[in-house]
């Protein structure tokens, strides 16, 4: 009997969806807009993350060692730092590499090159570049280095840590990144909620049109599941169709916007992002459409069943 009921409910849902053409069409249009907002939020989120990651990658802290520091000194510091949970990576630049980099950078500056020749020795110390997992963690890394240096009487021959020179810039960047993330989350929640509310009201309106029908169904002794089922099936169909339409419409739009986003948002091409993440986007959009359609229909019918 359950199988028979399920078959009848599904069939009835399909038939009603088709016969209520205008109402179904209106629901689909509103739901496409909702799903479009959700996809835009996915794209905006990925671009924001990419921009913030690029900004974060530009920040690092350099530890300059005195000329008399040995490679062992640098390696001890490197080992200590890598043991810290805040540290994402470290890079050792030897005195020789530092000099080669310096010469490469200033190869067209005759005065600097001449001065280097006159010195006759390498004036540069080794450098350890440290990248934290989050920009907000540089302060604790710098504090750790300072306490280590102070307690050991500069045993490792550290000359300076650039964090203190760049502190203001790093702090400002940290605040921008945190504020952007918070704002992004708030905007996402507001837009998703707004879209869901609008869709819910559209479906509620569509079911309001059928309120007399629901009362007749109640009077002939139809169970709540039997009354509600076809509306939920209709909601699922609206959601699924809207998802397919949204995914199709996104293809030319992202294709057209791809080059612009690549220029503006840290090299992210929205079309390439769409194509390479299509399975995930497909699942999110389809699940959102079907979920919103089913839940909205379920809740909207409940009101008339209770009366």
């Amino acid at each position: 009997m359950i199988w028979t009921n399920l078959k009848r409910i599904t069939k009835s849902g399909f038939v009603n969806f088709w016969r209520n053409g205008y109402v179904s069409f209106a629901s689909i249009v509103v739901m496409v807009v909702t799903l479009f907002v959700i996809s835009s939020i996915i794209f905006a989120g990925s671009m924001l993350t990419s921009v913030l990651d690029t900004l974060r990658d530009k920040v690092d802290v350099n530890i300059y060692f005195l000329n008399e520091a040995t490679e062992d000194d640098v390696m001890v510091v490197k080992k200590h730092l890598e043991a810290l949970p805040e540290v994402a990576m470290t890079e050792y630049i030897s005195r020789e590499d530092a000099l080669a980099n310096f010469e490469l950078k200033h190869q067209n500056d005759e005065i600097i090159m001449q001065t280097l020749d006159e010195l006759g020795e390498n004036p540069l110390g080794a450098v350890l570049t440290v990248k934290a997992k989050e920009t907000s963690q540089y302060e604790s890394i710098a504090a750790y280095l300072k306490s280590e240096t102070d307690s050991r009487g500069n045993e490792y021959n550290i000359e300076k840590v650039t964090y203190y020179q760049n502190k203001d810039a790093i702090d400002a960047l940290t605040k921008i990144i945190e504020a952007s993330r918070k704002l992004g989350s708030i905007v996402t929640i507001i837009f998703v909620l707004l879209s869901i509310v609008i869709t819910f009201n559209t479906i509620r309106l569509a079911i309001y049109v059928s309120r007399e029908e629901i009362s007749v169904m109640k009077l002939v002794g139809a169970s709540f599941m039997y009354i509600r089922g076809p509306f939920v099936v209709g909601g699922i169909m609206s959601g699924a169709l809207s998802a397919v339409i949204t995914l199709i419409v996104l293809y030319p739009i992202t294709y057209w916007m791809g080059p612009s986003t690549e220029r503006l948002f840290a090299g992210i091409n929205i079309f390439e992002y769409y194509i390479s993440n299509f399975p995930q986007i497909f699942i999110i959009i389809l699940a959102s459409g079907v979920g919103i359609g089913a839940v909205s229909s379920y809740l909207a019918v409940r009101k008339y069943l209770a009366n």
């Binding site: 209520n20 007749v216 169904m217 009077l219 002939v220 002794g221 139809a222």
Partner: protein, 226 residues
């Protein structure tokens, strides 16, 4: 079969729907309920259908207090009642066949039973040729005959007909009354509300006359006060 025990209904705006109504309806009876608009006829039917609850008093179907039923119980109880309304209340997006089949599906009948019974019941109301029409394609009389077919298809214990001839011309009114009489002759209890004196006179059955929520006359020989 149906027993109203001192039933009153007072609405929130203090208007009186029913005022101390007590009566019994026996199985296989044909009872007409008459009265002016606002006399309480529809409220009385809503009480039987468990669509509305009394402010005081009890309504029994057989030995069951219908307003004590849980939602699932109400669903099963309503399957024992066939309803016919003045405004037909057909499902507009379903064909004639589907409207009747829906009532059978709701009662848990099998596909085979539906395929056999729906054409048969449509033949009884002389609408087999309109089986695949939608309600918008039917006349008022045809719509009402579909509503009656839907009401009787599950062989209910009672048929409740609320002003079924209110929107019909005399010829269709006569047809509908004849169908209801035939249904009653086959053993189904029929409760009919109407304004139509001609209908009541032609029936010559029990008539309950209502006024301002009260029963002012209950006559087994078809006499009434209007």
């Amino acid at each position: 079969m149906i027993y109203f025990d001192n039933v009153s209904k007072i609405y929130n705006d203090k208007s009186v729907g029913l005022d101390g109504v007590t009566f019994k309806i026996a199985p296989s009876e044909f009872v007409s309920v008459v009265g002016h608009s606002g006399a309480g006829k529809t409220t009385l039917l809503k009480m039987i259908l468990a669509e509305d609850k009394p402010s005081t008093g009890k309504v029994f179907f057989e030995s069951t207090n219908v307003h004590r039923l849980n939602p699932k119980g109400v669903v099963h109880y309503r399957r024992k009642i066939g309803t016919v309304f003045q405004d037909f209340r057909l499902l507009p997006n379903k064909t004639v066949y589907e409207n009747i089949a829906f009532a059978m599906e709701a009662a848990g009948r099998s596909d085979e039973e539906i395929e056999a019974d729906v054409p048969h019941v449509l033949e009884l109301v002389d609408l087999k040729h309109k089986m695949w029409s939608f309600p918008r394609q039917l006349s008022g009389g045809e719509k009402q005959r579909v509503a009656i077919a839907r009401a009787i298809v599950n062989q209910p214990d009672i048929i409740i007909a609320d002003e079924p001839t209110g929107n019909l011309d005399p010829v269709n009114t006569y047809d509908i009354v004849q169908i209801l009489k035939k249904v009653n002759d086959l053993g189904t209890t029929v409760i009919l509300t109407t304004h139509n004196k001609g209908v009541i006179d032609s029936l010559e059955r029990r008539v309950i006359t209502m006024d301002k929520g009260r029963i002012v006359r209950d006559d087994t020989e078809g006499r009434y006060v209007l």
